[in-house]
Symmetry: C2
Subunit: 396 residues, 2 copies
């Protein structure tokens, strides 16, 4: 049998990051390449208690088919919570529950992208989202990242040139992979540019609640009087990723199309997980949980910073962060980053090469991404020390 | 803001069945229109016990990110179980876990369908699958259903005419909506035709384990020496649909593409639900559970049959079934089925009009679908009685 695949999947290359993860699965290798939240921050005992209660008191709610748009009480409570806490959501918006925020990328792209339409994204950006857009045969155009977010000059240039732009994809808080946070001025600027050029913004905010330093900035969605922003949130980083619960807030006509697509993809999201999130949000002190979690991340990021200061500087520099899961590290001009990553793996430590996050991953990059939240403190320090040793060997 | 949607979603019409479900949500209406398994057959206390154990003993397995292809022990145990019990799976095959069997329809269509490629399906067939294929802009061609499955003459005719056929979609056991089971001869015949014309078969078997009468027939996948069958299974009907766990067995190159698509859709399926299914399969007497469940369906279908014999015959006829969730009922030649369904809703009972399951739902149908598993016995009998009363009024 000669299998005949669709053009869309034939165009998808096996990603660089997947290859890296093969090495990361080796138990002898210290993986600083994951994107996992810190397991010690999971509200495990609360989840245990709530789960027992759900399955004892209303098993059928958890076990029977649910509605595609999501568990109604969770939708209502999240709508109120986001409105009150972050000014997100207007009369023209609705909220749906998805199987992780990844599904929002998929449903939105499926709803708006025809072959050859453009998505403008930060360069570098989250590989998982880029691959989803590619799977609908979107043209990706990267706009350079700066320390305070996407370059607005670059964005306007791209909007002028790319006539078939459907949306701008941005991660404004503790961006993956750079850790950068978009300034307030740029948030307003991006919104105004999207309005001016008649394109939508997909604001992906998985890490916003993981801020352990500095002041929180408003979501772009909170300025959205015109109905041009689709906001993607998730419980993956504040509760647990294995439960796969995300949520999208956006204009009703857009969400209606996404619901039709979701019906065809997985009918609805796991009910037990949805009820669990609703209970955590309403019958537990969710804000205290978030505070405790931020404490875990603050402490853990400090371990990474101390180790990087000791072992990486000055040869390898890193961007300071105020939250999120990642540090973006950069080798000196002219050094061979891919060779560095390869040698690091030989020394049993694994990071993600920066080119993996580019819209064209054959382009060069001097940077790599470190995740500090998955390894134990001991492995984190040891891993960074190993990176430092490789740098000493390689970089004069 | 003028929203610009993709051609694929603009072509999707709101489905007839969704409109019907609006009425079905009215608590005063007896719904015989759902596709829900009987909640009294859910292994609720086992799920409660296992869930407590998972969350106490290995919460991180349930809560951290998992692999896209699924929880490894479940994949291994299901592979052994399907091989041993049903002769499904060869060396060239692999098995992946999906978010319900619906996701298999989606991932497979996404992997093989280019705009305008043909899917050959039973006419009538499962609406949810047809809509997924439509969402990738497939051309659907219906092949008439007979009492023993798809017409093979019709199938060969279609294979000759439709040069861009990518696969045949079939539900061989207790088909949705007709309840029909494909004969052994036709299973072999369909396999041979697929081989001859070089197309794949998507064998969707959500109901196979719900057989309460007659002899089980082998899966088409069990003949598959050439690697042309993708088999879709699910825990939705034998455990519970709200947990959203399905599984696909198929040729490795096909599953590899589907895994790449799944990575972009939802990263992986809810881990708690996957571990739950693995425990039910390995540490509980799953076959006893299936026997108990078949007892529930046998008893409940008898209630429906007795009521239909009393209230529907001879004006409305129905196909006898040996398992599954549905009865396919037919009005006399020349009667107005859509009018009948409308009047039934006015009389507070809701069924699904047969045209909803056609590849072109503007074509006429004399039939409608009854689900007997969701309502209580009392409502089931009352609902069928109401249908009988409407028939008496309408049909001379």
């Amino acid at each position: 049998m000669e299998y005949q695949f669709s053009r869309r999947v034939l165009e998808l290359k096996p990603s660089a990051i997947r290859e890296i993860f093969k090495y990361a699965a080796d138990p002898q290798v210290i993986s600083l390449s994951a994107g996992n939240p810190a397991p010690e921050a999971f509200p495990t005992s609360e989840i245990s208690k709530i789960s027992a209660q759900i399955l004892a008191e209303r098993p059928i709610d958890a076990l029977q088919y649910g509605t595609t748009e999501g568990y109604t009480p969770l939708r209502r409570h999240l709508t109120e919570y986001l409105k009150e806490k972050s000014g997100i959501g207007t009369e023209r918006d609705d909220l749906i529950i998805t199987s992780g925020a990844q599904q929002i990328m998929d449903l939105f792209a499926k709803s708006v992208i025809d072959t050859g339409d453009t998505v403008l994204c930060e360069s570098p950006s989250f590989l998982g989202a880029l691959n989803t857009y590619r799977s609908y045969r979107a043209k990706l155009r990267g706009v350079p990242m700066e320390a305070d977010g996407m370059s607005l000059e670059g964005l306007e240039q791209a909007l002028k040139e790319e006539k078939r732009t459907k949306f701008i994809y941005t991660i404004p808080n503790f961006q993956n992979p750079t850790g950068a946070t978009m300034s307030l001025a740029k948030r307003h600027g991006m919104y105004e540019l999207a309005k001016k050029y008649g394109v939508m913004i997909l604001e992906d905010n998985p890490y916003g609640d993981l801020r352990f330093a500095g002041e929180a900035l408003p979501a772009i969605k909170s300025f959205d009087t015109e109905g041009i922003v689709l906001y993607a949130g998730t419980f993956s980083k504040v509760v647990a990723p294995g439960i796969r619960v995300g949520f999208a807030v956006g204009p009703k006509p857009v969400l209606q199309k996404m619901i039709v697509c979701k019906q065809g993809e997985d009918v609805h999201t796991n009910n037990w997980a949805q009820i669990l999130c609703d209970e955590l949000l309403t019958n537990y002190d969710f804000d205290s949980h978030l505070n405790r979690l931020r404490g875990v991340y603050r402490k853990k990021s400090k371990v990474a910073v101390d180790a990087m200061n000791r072992w990486l500087l000055p040869k390898i520099t890193y961007q300071p962060i105020e939250g999120g899961l990642f540090f973006w590290c950069t080798l000196p001009e002219g050094s061979n980053m891919l060779e560095f990553v390869k040698r690091s793996i030989e020394h049993k430590v694994c990071v993600v090469p920066g080119n993996a996050f580019l819209t064209d991953d054959t382009k060069p990059s001097q940077s790599f991404r470190i995740n500090y939240t998955t390894p134990t403190d001991e492995n984190l320090v040891r891993g960074i020390q190993l990176l430092g040793e490789v740098a000493c060997d390689m970089i004069p």
